[in-house]
Symmetry: C2
């Protein structure tokens, strides 16, 4: 792998907010960045070429001299000579990425993915996106190392250089260290982990649980008749979320250290815009369909991840791996996302007796 | 122990905000409440008698017909026939409580304490307040069970009936269950634990770490030149706080489940007023003395607890129990509280390599 002084070329496929923001620190380190729009991103690419601004991130491109822009039909040119590619699609784009991108990736060039989620492969078995990408690449006869980014980091704030601590996970320590060198800056701090399952599971779970914590905000609004937040109830849900995430991490085969990462990620996601807005609407008592209608046009990736996580939990219960009463908060969230209304947060079921 | 239908008498000694708010659910359950002011609380007692309002909580007393009020020189009358006493003093009042109250408590009547903190007894050994109270009572020839309240709950929000989940800890499960019956309501949910050390350690630690997280808010204000919050940096500090709290809980001998309780408590404390205000001022770059001066008149219990926790950590290191590099955030907080200025959050030292 090149050192950063040798100006590695990083090709990002999927030029949305996070796929683009994650290149800020790499460009600061002298890397050359090629932003490739997905089939949905033509407007972003045209706008960046014309104005030097990122359309959805609503920020000037930092270090514009390091950037070049490609539509998806220019992918091959963008991949030529790349030292790393970044998978920048949302989790809704995963299948497209698996089918339309992976077969075209250059053999031997590693991938860093910002796409977040877990896949339920049946019977309560959850695997991470990097694992799925890896097997797809193997099917396509490619030898590609997949790494992924976890930890609390929203794209806007990264683009504004707010200090962020993330974790790159992958199978090979030496490769992780080499890639960290390209991204590490005084505002972007990178921990490393070979616990891919644990890191990605924490990342996926926080989407469901952040929605659950935001319910308390909506409940407070409804009780107060105005936009007034109470925090005891948010904190009660936060604590319960950490308890359930700890259990689910263990079930997924993730290591213990991922809980701290998940808790930080949960914290940032409660303040993170879309998930919060949906949780608040549900908390005020709206049904899921009506809440979605009010958020028309907003991509709710977190909802999809939450639904998938809840489905996996159901399967875990069916398989006898976990008891229903151990995940009361996740089930409450799943019921709300399933359209139920008029159900109360099951506070009593959060009570424990620890006489060990 | 009486059932709640038998109208137990609860005598609260120390009629500050939390000592008083914790009686709301008990009064809802039909308990009779006797609020006894500490030697510093005469104004609260006089005001409650005259107006039916709590002076510092700034709320009408709920269920006023259940309440009676006592100055400290009327303690004996307030204790006569009590089924439970509540220790409602702040941690600054601990010595006073140990010396002036415990010797006068009726033998055999249990205590529930809302006073938060740990005591460093030297060489990095931390014990909880209930343990200290217990040994003081034994010295005074009393047989008293001490229990304590942990978990995320601010007094204002409890008084406003925001749903709260707390933990009562103590040595005897059957006593904990009996007392829970008096306090449990649809807005006050009580878990039970015999892990006194763990619960109290989590409660104490969150004071130090919430201050640390609030630093990021001040840093954001300074960078932006206005009161604008970023969350990536708060979340990074939140994650590091959870990591360090997990280590410290283990060292204190606390069980694993307390981490969820501590994380919830940390969450509420970041929004909790005084600790946050001090953290923000330090984060903007003010020195500790100047920040304290700006907050003149505000009781900063959390600061005292943070200093004590940091001192204990120093002693733990000296004893070889913990490595300095494992607690970089606590040390940063300790240095700020020690008056240092111009030091940066040690982001790099939060980075980990988990190749296990």
């Amino acid at each position: 792998m090149k050192t950063k002084a040798e100006r590695p070329v990083i090709t990002v496929i999927g030029s949305g907010m996070m796929g683009s923001a994650v290149t800020w620190p790499a460009a600061d380190n002298g890397c050359d960045i090629r932003l490739v729009g997905s089939v949905l991103d033509d407007a972003i690419i045209e706008h960046a070429r014309a104005t030097g601004e990122h359309l959805t991130l609503k920020r000037r491109i930092r270090n514009p001299e390091r950037y070049s822009y490609y539509r998806f039909d220019e992918l091959d040119a963008a991949l030529d000579g790349a030292d790393l590619t970044v998978c920048g699609v949302s989790s809704f784009g995963l299948d497209w990425y698996l089918d339309s991108v992976i077969p075209r990736l250059p053999d031997g060039v590693p991938v860093l993915s910002i796409t977040k989620g877990m896949i339920h492969t049946g019977a309560g078995n959850l695997i991470s996106y990097p694992e799925r990408m890896e097997s797809r690449a193997a099917e396509a006869g490619k030898n590609i190392d997949f790494m992924a980014v976890g930890g609390p980091c929203t794209s806007y704030e990264l683009a504004d250089l707010d200090p962020s601590c993330v974790t790159f996970c992958g199978r090979r320590p030496e490769l992780l260290r080499a890639v960290r060198e390209w991204f590490e800056t005084p505002y972007y701090h990178v921990s490393l982990s070979t616990d891919v399952r644990g890191v990605e599971c924490a990342v996926a779970l926080k989407n469901a649980y952040a929605l659950g914590i935001s319910l308390a905000i909506g409940m407070s609004y409804r009780r107060e008749g105005r936009e007034f937040e109470h925090y005891n109830s948010q904190a009660a849900l936060f604590g319960q979320a950490v308890r359930e995430m700890k259990l689910l991490l263990r079930i997924c085969g993730g290591g213990d250290d991922c809980l701290a990462l998940g808790a930080g990620d949960l914290y940032v996601t409660v303040f993170g815009g879309r998930t919060r807005r949906l949780g608040i609407l549900l908390g005020t008592g709206l049904g899921y369909a009506e809440a979605r209608a009010r958020l028309a046009g907003v991509t709710l990736e977190s909802t999809a991840i939450a639904v998938r996580t809840a489905e996996a939990a159901e399967a875990l219960e069916a398989a006898g791996t976990v008891r229903r009463e151990d995940l009361p908060m996740l089930h409450h969230i799943a019921r709300l996302l399933g359209g139920e209304t008029g159900i109360e947060v099951p506070w009593d079921s959060f009570e424990t007796e620890n006489f060990g």
